[in-house]
């Protein structure tokens, strides 16, 4: 659905993207993870044709990105982290503008507002909406057009956990409707919950990619088993035959409250990978 090969992009002398390769399968949620300034938004802008690039190739819907016509572009929904909402207009009027541009039936507006939980605020001017409501209005704008590809740039940045959960639900619903979702975030937990595949972007380079759990397993150097006993005591055991007797014994005695392996989170993997690089940079500094 989306392919990129050897994308390079520089702004003046600063290299922003260096040799980015992507192959995103249809009907999946792909997460591009990285800290601020890693080049996530730049990559979205390049794939969606908002920004040119120095070299490489981008293919969307089987066509080169610069060959996408109006009909193709109408199948792409883009939600950037900067709001872009008409503050003085109501939620309905905000959606009407884009319904008219995309040729969407106005009946779909109320339906979409209901879906994102803004039906009761339909007549409210956007300036009176909370941050979470504005994010949902933004999402409504892209969901209304029933996109085949959805680009979401930090969709839950700065939102409360409830709104975040609500938006996650809407995103997975879209995936279930065979929509391909390209998501950027620096929230690793969000990526683990939502994404089928992630790529870790740091200083313009993809440093690793794969399913979130695969990446976590790959960097599980410790291979430990953590046990929390009903007595409140925590035990850490080596993952191996030696620990088996101890675990069986605890199980027979019914003393185990929880037991789990100690795979790192995406966040710790990212820190491990980029932390090394930062140390190297400091050496040169």
């Amino acid at each position: 659905m989306i392919k990129a090969k050897g994308i390079y992009k520089s702004f003046a002398d600063k290299k922003v993207l260096s040799g980015i390769d992507l192959d995103i399968k249809p009907g999946t949620i792909f997460g591009l993870l990285g800290p601020s300034g890693a080049g996530k938004t730049t990559l979205i802008k390049i794939i969606t044709g908002q920004l040119g690039f120095d070299s490489g190739e981008v293919v969307v819907f089987g066509k080169s990105a610069d060959e996408l016509n109006g009909t193709d572009k109408k199948k792409i929904g883009i939600m950037m982290d900067n709001h872009g909402i008409y503050d003085r207009l109501s939620c309905t009027d905000n959606l009407k503008i884009f319904a008219d541009i995309y040729g969407v039936d106005h009946k779909k507006i109320d339906e979409t507002l209901r879906k994102v939980g803004l039906a009761e605020s339909a007549k409210k001017p956007a300036m009176k909406l909370s941050k979470g409501m504005r994010a949902r209005l933004q999402l409504a704008r892209v969901l209304m057009i029933e996109p085949k590809i959805l680009f979401l740039d930090e969709p839950t940045s700065g939102l409360d956990p409830m709104t975040m959960k609500y938006i996650h639900k809407l995103i997975t619903e879209q995936r279930d409707k065979s929509c391909t979702i390209f998501l950027t975030t620096h929230n690793m937990e969000e990526a683990t919950v939502l994404c089928d595949e992630v790529a870790l972007l740091n200083e313009g380079k993809i440093i690793d990619r794969g399913a979130p759990h695969e990446i976590c397993r790959k960097y599980n150097h410790q291979k430990k088993i953590n046990i929390h006993l009903k007595s409140g005591e925590d035990i850490e055991l080596e993952d191996g035959a030696k620990s088996a007797d101890k675990i069986f014994s605890l199980m027979e005695q019914g003393r185990i409250e929880t037991i789990h392996s100690s795979e790192p989170t995406l966040e710790t993997v990212f820190i491990e990978l980029t932390g090394r690089k930062l140390e190297e940079e400091e050496k040169y500094a």
Partner: protein, 228 residues
Amino acid sequence: MRNVGVIIKKQLKDTIKNKTVLIQFIMFPVMTLVMENAIHIKDMPENFFTKLFAVMYMGMAPLTAVASIISEEKEKNTLRVLMMANVKPWEYLAGVGIYVWTLCMAGAGIMATGLPSEQIPFFLGIMAAGFAISIAIGACIGVFSSNQMVATSLFMPVMLVFSFAPMLAMFNDKIEKVAGIFYTQQLRILMNQMSFDGIKTETVLVTAINALLGLVLFFIAFKKKGLE
């Protein structure tokens, strides 16, 4: 072309709720009606306030409105969202331009109600040309500015020069000579004649050069900054 209509419709809804832009369109027509009906001074030229305010309206309203609209959309990222929705820059600019020109013409129509009926088409023709030039200059400022604050600091002096120079020219010969290089002053002269008879080459030439300069500056600003 459908997107041009969408932009016009959007602007119409937005302006009703945007008092700062709305006041630009209605202030001078209302002032004209009030002054023409309330003040009658002996030996005052006929339709003095209509012609005075018409020139100020021409140099002020479209210029500030277009610059404010474009710079606000840039600042709030709504313009970027429109571009991402595949609205072409020319569709957006045409939508805003047509919308502002139409509203200004409606205002000019109100101002023209006090004029003798045979002068109305001529008056509206002058206003139409003046609005078009001001829109090009306003668009140039809007495109060049990254936000509303920059736009205001740019359009304020430009707008004051274009709208006040013709008025000040009535009281000072030196200012009149300087003001002669502005389209607003030339169109004021034309408005006083209210006829194509005896129209000076200078008037046509200065107005055409002003229009051309406005367009050239707009294309330079657009090429340099685009609508990002």
